[in-house]
């Protein structure tokens, strides 16, 4: 027990330092759709789509927490990770802009897309209310892009790659990468639909998507690396947890 403590303390300290780094660079440089950008009609549509998904996430959380005692702490950890990562601005020298990863890929892999939607909804609500990051009227749209599309992409890519017996770290990397890109793809889709007015949809969609590329291409790779690192770290420290969460099969761990 003492040995584990010795090893854990520096890790917690590192977390604190990362926090300090994030705090001091913490200007609101975001990718979430800001307050008032979407017309009321579209804001309402996305909110109506998001609310049942959030309710379903809550239902799944209650159900799974009854079955597995480690589930609630894992969801708590993922919520904090998603919240921290999704408002951590990272400068991209190649683009001259700042943006942030989403952290939603790892959440989708570990707790599943349904609960991941709930986690993103909570993180986005706190950010919209207190951090001038995103918006209340665009809350639903941001949940769909980050929570639903990001989690689903991460979850599905990871499952498919693991089914094809691809290495755990590579699967995690690809899941993180594509979760990030899927989030921005969906953001471009929502924006183009909402703000196009009389303009045709597709040219505007491509314009927004291409404008995201210089920043999100490298950030997606960073998110992939972070996701691969987290999955591998959990595999080394608590493989039993990954089996319980159905991320891995017991035979895979024994092998």
């Amino acid at each position: 027990m003492k040995k584990i403590d010795k090893f854990e303390k520096p890790f917690l300290l590192t977390l604190v330092f990362i926090q300090v780094f994030w705090i001091f660079t913490g200007q609101a440089q975001a990718m979430h759709i800001s307050e008032g950008i979407l017309p009321f009609r579209w804001a309402l549509v996305w909110s109506l789509v998001a609310v049942p998904l959030v309710a379903f996430g809550l239902y799944r959380l209650k159900k799974q927490a009854r079955e597995e005692t480690s589930f609630k702490p894992l969801v708590g950890l993922m919520a904090a990770v998603v919240f921290i990562i999704s408002c951590m601005p990272i400068p991209v020298p190649t683009a001259g802009t700042c943006s942030h990863p989403c952290g939603i890929g790892i959440s989708g892999i570990l707790v599943g897309p349904a609960i991941s939607v709930l986690i993103s909804a909570l993180a986005l609500l706190i950010q919209a209310l207190f951090l001038a990051h995103g918006g209340l009227s665009t809350w639903g749209a941001n949940i769909i892009s980050m929570g639903l599309m990001g989690s689903l992409a991460g979850y599905l890519i990871f499952k498919v790659l693991r089914y094809l017996r691809i290495n755990l770290a590579v699967s995690g990397f690809m899941a993180g990468l594509l979760a990030d890109w899927a989030t921005y793809g969906m953001t471009a889709f929502e924006l183009a639909l909402g703000i196009r007015g009389e303009s045709p949809f597709l040219p505007l969609f491509w314009k927004i998507l291409i404008a995201f590329v210089p920043t999100q291409l490298p950030l997606g790779i960073l998110e992939g690396a972070m996701t691969a690192g987290m999955v591998t770290l959990l595999y080394k420290k608590r493989p039993d947890l990954l089996i319980k969460m159905k991320v891995l099969r017991a035979e895979e761990v024994k092998a």
Partner: protein
């Protein structure tokens, strides 16, 4: 006895590595902090550079947030609070999962074997 020494050496080695990582993180954080304060105007967020810009071209503009925390250094303070709370929660649940529940699981496994 030998085994005990080996594991202590391993812990010291791990400690050194993590200290080195800590040092690197601190160095990077200092550099990043300096650059972000000096060049805040030069590094606009992608929301400014892409989302708001294209929305403005299409005749849509962002509104002020409901709670206007983006006033001067107030935003830094709110980020500080959020960082402390977020960091505490992450650290707390990490400890619950990796130390407390991990140790409990190890004990259960040992008892099962014995």
């Amino acid at each position: 006895m030998k085994r005990g020494r080996k594991s202590s050496a391993l812990i010291i080695k791990r400690g050194k590595t993590t200290n080195l990582i800590l040092l690197l993180v601190m160095l990077l954080s200092t550099l990043s902090t300096q650059s972000s304060f000096c060049a805040a105007e030069k590094w606009p967020g992608v929301d400014e550079a892409v989302v708001k810009k294209i929305a403005k071209e299409q005749g849509r503009e962002a509104r002020d947030p409901l709670i206007p925390t983006d006033q001067g250094d107030l935003l830094l303070f709110v980020f500080l609070l959020a960082g402390v709370v977020g960091g505490f929660i992450a650290g707390y649940y990490w400890r619950v999962l990796m130390v407390e529940k991990g140790a409990k699981k190890n004990v259960q496994e040992k008892e099962g074997i014995n």
